[in-house]
């Protein structure tokens, strides 16, 4: 009689999901799946709304990276109002939005590494679950926990200065922004009392990269081999030179060997190249490159994919780390799921350096905010959200109502990769074991967590999340059940 392991909900990720692993009588893996059990429906209920509402409405998908949805929708609506893509905006609008975006990347990555992931690294994936959490980190590594909190605060303050609120602001509007920064804002970010100034943030970001590299050195096998699998990688890159570009670029993808399989596609053309598949057991779709098909066309997005696809990083310190990162795999795409953390921290450093560059730019505090042009009936906005490439596509009728909305959220792009990662743990950690202790189940979560999934793109609640694990036979009879929390 076979059995089925269910992990529900998955902890220390955004949103709610569950994992099922089916084993046969000899404890071999029959099947493993990551299920997304929430249904959101934003694509439907934005229909009929006025187009200018989209950037504010759709960002309510998420409380962690609303800025990404806010900006992606605003970029799509820039096209609709005839302001053109990216560089069609005024220099002030473009730079205010970029600063907002880097503030977002910075705070979201920091939240993920310090609050959600560091417990696994600091206490080990098999550490005592009672202390393997952010409270345990705060108690045993108070300096590190404080850094995490203050770095996130800095990013949130940048978002507030550019969009009006730390969460769900209104700064980006179709065709531009509704405000620029004051000189006092800029002065505070550049020269604020320690530690809330940009130089300290750059310094702490460098320290975080070193922390990971040191951990990597001591845990090489785990970091390199855990949830390793080959895949395609997709991200935006800067048009022309292929630099890492998080706000506005062209779509590029490489295969597992680094060969370019999608070459600098314009945002408005994405739907000719990318489609989504559906499966009956999850609400989350499976995006793929059309010319490669569902089986071979799936791809990873996010920090790992971005650093695999980009030619270089246009900021000094991050570029030095990028060179080490790329050299580690001899210039080939890096396929280790746990190296996602390494890539993410290099991006934290890049975001901090970019924020400083922007804060020193006089355009940030003066200049025209809006661009207008000839109305169009359709617009696409693509952005690199913290978790990966995010697609917003809208159609708008002549009376200004949205008639169609298609959102391909970053985590959706990582659906197949996360299933691959879960499958790796099932086959390499769980298979063959009669008993499945907690630390093995945590490793399933560690694999998913590497992708920083925002499973519902929903607001995140700190607090006790119950973990329910049930062992079932193939008829669905519960053999054993453990509930934590």
């Amino acid at each position: 009689m076979g059995k089925k392991i269910t992990i529900e909900p998955i902890t220390r990720v955004e949103g709610h999901g569950k994992v099922t692993i089916k084993l046969d009588d000899d404890n071999n893996i029959v099947e493993s799946r990551l299920h997304i059990v929430e249904f959101r429906g934003f694509e439907r209920f934005v229909q009929g709304r006025p187009y200018w509402e989209a950037p504010v409405l759709v960002q309510r998908l998420c409380g962690i990276c609303p800025v990404s949805h806010h900006l992606a929708a605003a970029k799509a609506m820039d096209v609709v109002v005839g302001a053109g893509e990216g560089n069609g905006l005024t220099p002030t609008a473009d730079k205010v939005r970029r600063l907002m975006h880097y503030g977002q990347i910075f705070q979201s990555h920091v939240l993920h590494f310090f609050h959600l992931v560091s417990p696994d690294l600091l206490f080990g994936v098999d550490g005592d679950p009672a202390t393997r959490n952010i409270v345990g980190v705060a108690q045993q590594f108070p300096e590190l926990a404080t850094q995490g909190v203050m770095m996130r605060k800095f990013g949130q303050e940048i978002i507030k200065a550019t969009s009006g609120k730390k969460i769900h602001g209104t700064g980006a509007i179709p065709g531009g922004v509704n405000k620029c920064l004051t000189k006092e804002d800029v002065d505070n970010f550049l020269h604020g009392a320690d530690p809330l100034n940009i130089d300290k943030m750059i310094s702490w970001a460098s320290d975080a990269v070193e922390l990971f590299k040191d951990y990597h050195l001591k845990n090489k096998k785990f970091i390199d081999e855990f949830a390793y699998f080959p895949s395609n990688h997709l991200s935006l890159v800067r048009k022309g030179d292929g630099a890492l570009e998080l706000y506005d670029g062209v779509l590029r993808a490489v295969d597992a060997d680094g060969k370019i399989i999608l070459n600098d596609v314009d945002n408005q053309e994405y739907h000719h190249h990318i489609a989504e598949g559906v499966k009956s057991w999850t609400y989350m779709k499976f995006p793929f490159l059309k010319h490669l098909g569902k089986e071979k066309g799936w791809f990873r997005v996010g920090p790992l994919a971005r650093l695999n696809v980009a030619e270089f990083i246009p900021s000094e310190k991050a570029q030095r780390e990028f060179e080490l990162f790329r050299a580690y795999t001899h210039g080939k795409p890096n396929q280790s799921s746990m190296h996602m953390h390494w890539a993410r921290l290099i991006e934290v450093l890049h975001a901090a350096e970019e924020m400083k560059r922007l804060l020193l730019d006089p355009d940030l505090t003066k200049g025209d905010l809006m661009t207008t042009g000839t109305r169009k009936g359709e617009g696409v906005g693509i952005i690199e959200a913290p978790r990966g490439t995010l697609f917003h596509h809208y159609k708008v009728d002549p009376q200004d109502h949205i008639t169609m909305c298609n959102l391909i959220v970053s985590t959706t792009c990582n659906n197949e990769p996360m299933n691959q990662a879960v499958n790796w743990v099932a086959r390499n950690v769980i298979a063959g074991n009669e008993k499945v202790p907690e630390h093995m189940l945590n490793q399933v979560e560690v694999a998913i967590r590497a992708y920083d999934p925002c499973l519902s793109c929903a607001t995140h609640a700190m607090g006790k999340m119950p973990l329910k694990i049930s062992l079932e036979d193939q008829s669905g009879n519960i053999l054993d059940e453990v509930i934590k929390g």
Partner: protein
């Protein structure tokens, strides 16, 4: 003969002019009575009932009741505050008010009054009526989900030749704001902006304005409703 009279609001003795409404007298004496359907220079309509006060044991609308000598007005008593909150909560549940994504947020008087009374959730069940967003003019949309039928637009928005632009059709639960489309040519940018501004809740939207006023510069970001009173 003096045209000044004396009355009390919540025990405080005030002087008012004969012919004033209770709301006008309260304003002149720095006493806050919340209003929604009341608007400067418009004849009182008494449609929203938010200014309900108790006078000599009877609940009346303060915007439509004239002061009288020796009148005893109960405004912020526990009973009247609760009654008023119930009225505000009914306005919320009878429409579909999605403040987080509403472009009127921060400039919305209904939202501001709810904040003033610290209303976090209504005591009544949401009715979730099926209402629509209607594009009625190249410059205007009517967001029926938000309309509280205060009639400020009906009373206050007129074309240059003095003709009304807005009206209501149907009755009771089916009542709905309409725009006279035969007046469409008379609605210019200025009148469209005036229509959006006279609406207390964002039921009349001037197209393309959206969220152009940044957070921090909206009306009630600077000063909460009723905050200037009593100082």
């Amino acid at each position: 003969m003096s045209n000044e009279i004396q009355l009390t609001i919540d025990g405080k003795s005030i002087v008012a002019k004969l012919g004033q409404t209770i709301v006008e007298a309260a304003r002149d004496n720095n006493v806050y009575i919340p209003t929604l359907c009341d608007f400067k220079n418009l004849t009182p309509a008494g449609t929203c009932r938010v200014c309900s006060v108790k006078v000599d044991g009877r609940v009346v609308v303060a915007c439509g009741t004239r002061v009288a000598s020796g009148m005893v007005v109960e405004n912020e008593s526990a009973e009247m505050t609760d009654t008023r909150k119930a009225i505000i909560e009914m306005l919320f549940v009878e429409g579909n008010h999605m403040c987080p994504t509403c472009e009127k947020s921060g400039n919305c008087e209904l939202q501001a009054i709810a904040y003033h009374y610290r209303i976090t959730a209504p005591r009544f069940p949401f009715l979730f009526p099926k209402k629509s967003l209607e594009s009625v003019h190249p410059l205007l949309m009517l967001e029926h989900n938000r309309c509280i039928q205060c009639r400020r637009c009906v009373r206050g928005i007129r074309t240059k030749d003095g003709k009304g632009v807005f009206a209501f059709k149907n009755r009771s639960n089916n009542i709905e704001l309409i725009m006279d489309k035969s007046r469409a040519d008379d609605i210019d940018d200025e009148l469209a902006a005036a229509a959006a501004n006279i609406c207390p809740v964002g039921a009349i939207i001037k197209k393309g304005v959206g969220f152009s006023t940044p957070i921090g510069e909206r009306t009630f970001d600077k000063q909460q409703i009723g905050e200037s009173y009593g100082k």
